[in-house]
Assembly symmetry: C2
Homo-oligomer: 327 residues x 2
Amino acid sequence: MAGITSADVARESGVSRTTVSYVLTGRDGVNISAETRRRVRETAIRLGYAPSAAARALRTGRSDLVLCLLPDWPVGPVIETLLDELADGLSGRGLSVLVHHGRGSRPLTDLWRAVTPRAVIGFAPFAEDDLLAMRQAGIQVLGTLGEEHQPQPDLPSRSQLEIGALQVRRLAERQGARIGYAWPPDPRLEVFARDRLLGVQRACSELGLPDPHVLPVALDVPAAVTAVRAWREQGVTAVAAYNDDVALAVLAGLRAEGLDCPGDCAVVGVDDVPAARLAAPPLTTVSQSIEVQARYLAALVLADLDGSEEKPGHPGHGLHLVERESA
Amino acid sequence: MAGITSADVARESGVSRTTVSYVLTGRDGVNISAETRRRVRETAIRLGYAPSAAARALRTGRSDLVLCLLPDWPVGPVIETLLDELADGLSGRGLSVLVHHGRGSRPLTDLWRAVTPRAVIGFAPFAEDDLLAMRQAGIQVLGTLGEEHQPQPDLPSRSQLEIGALQVRRLAERQGARIGYAWPPDPRLEVFARDRLLGVQRACSELGLPDPHVLPVALDVPAAVTAVRAWREQGVTAVAAYNDDVALAVLAGLRAEGLDCPGDCAVVGVDDVPAARLAAPPLTTVSQSIEVQARYLAALVLADLDGSEEKPGHPGHGLHLVERESA
DNA sequence: CTGAAAGCGCTTACAG
DNA sequence: CTGAAAGCGCTTACAG
């Protein structure tokens, strides 16, 4: 029931627990004979010893876990890739990534105290006091954007704004474009949608375009048809969609109405999901080089682990347009 | 740095740590005056006390965490929903779901010892000795299918087989159908693809259809076109795809070749992702009622938590065909 | 009704 | 080069 403890290993190999600990945690300062080292290691393996992380965490106040806190919203392939790459970058140093979806909303405090992570990466802003408490407990706290200092919750995110701007710049290449904005059906996405739309609106006004015509678009054909008809009445000829899923819906609505894309109406998505290149027509979309973000995040965590003062330089948000046929 | 401990709360409220523990963990057996209870609770809140889960885990050998172990493969919206629903079902009882993606492949042992979870849910089979070790440590071990007893790793999964069979049964409604199978590009998906294909093959032979013509289909138009041409040469008129993503690629290949779906070739996917209903034509696909699975999984964990002997009944895999236009 | 004390398994100064 | 001992923060028999 109890499992093998370091005491078992010590007894079996005829040394003290101290020595076992020194050998297994690989402290170079202490000199232990190669023979002893070998024997301890061998015994540990033979017995199937794995240190109790609870005890270690209690003793050192720190574990080898990196906790990713995802909010309530649907994750999608982009975040998923980010998480994978992050885990990749960290595993080499013995750090494991654990992900918590915001759903089961136990107080945040319970969670990080339960995990005693080395670092917490938040995909949405933390409350001020949570942040303080974690910092005080010696936990490294990062935002998704890799900003050590939490972005102001009420300030629009720079990269979200930029996404909207990139969409409009492409759409505005069409003469006399009248922009529509396809708003996502899931209310949990509003945080991002607001900033992306703001980016669209600002870009429109900068380019002397009229304000975009915003319409919610649920992910089914009838809803998309309704939106498309409304846009047509307003003279909309170019639609920026919240993301690729919504863009796919707009495409379906256009098809159902017998309209040509991009001829009658151009569409730009966000994310470059696998389905984007397979759409009819293939979807022009804004993509983030997510691997770069992941590497940067991993580098930040590792820099802190090494206690190094200098932080790795921010790689920028790496947004770019993937040009296909829909716009 | 250290944070507030139960000793702080005890001192502040003028009682012993014992009393604090009794009040806060809500032991009914012990009688403590309402006044004392109130005072302790109030002090705990005022001080911002949150118990150290590391210490609690060390002492009790158990935490309030449920660890989900995902293999290496891309997750997709179905698993994501499952995870969300699971978290939902468990949070009411103070259990938090933590997800680990197989990527950073530290030994499994390190991971569960680090987390000391109440239950581990594996989305792919465990090695025999890992399973034993976890059981011995008093951890409840479940498979995704909710099977307490780990499915034989070398036995094809019943629900995967059934998926393939459902696809073929639909496709076979077409007179003289010749079936193709669209194999996924990601090698990590092979575990599932093998079983689904096996289901397809068995169904074909049962229905007196020739063996399916298997072709890999990468998620881009040129690859899909290549596959579609090869299928045409073989006289294939109906394609079962590994999942919706692959099916979308086949659809794109058909379109690029100027072929009609389902006229020239029918297609059936798996998963019913949001993009499926928005495809051209809307995609017929096999869907699992994932909420049911999630509720069942949650019920299993909770039953164990309550120490109840009777297990909730298995709801079946809840597979069904979503009929749209592509087949 | 409440407190003193042991112990979960580890790490780490401190002695030898 | 190695060991005895303290202590991380909690829970829980056991006394009073």
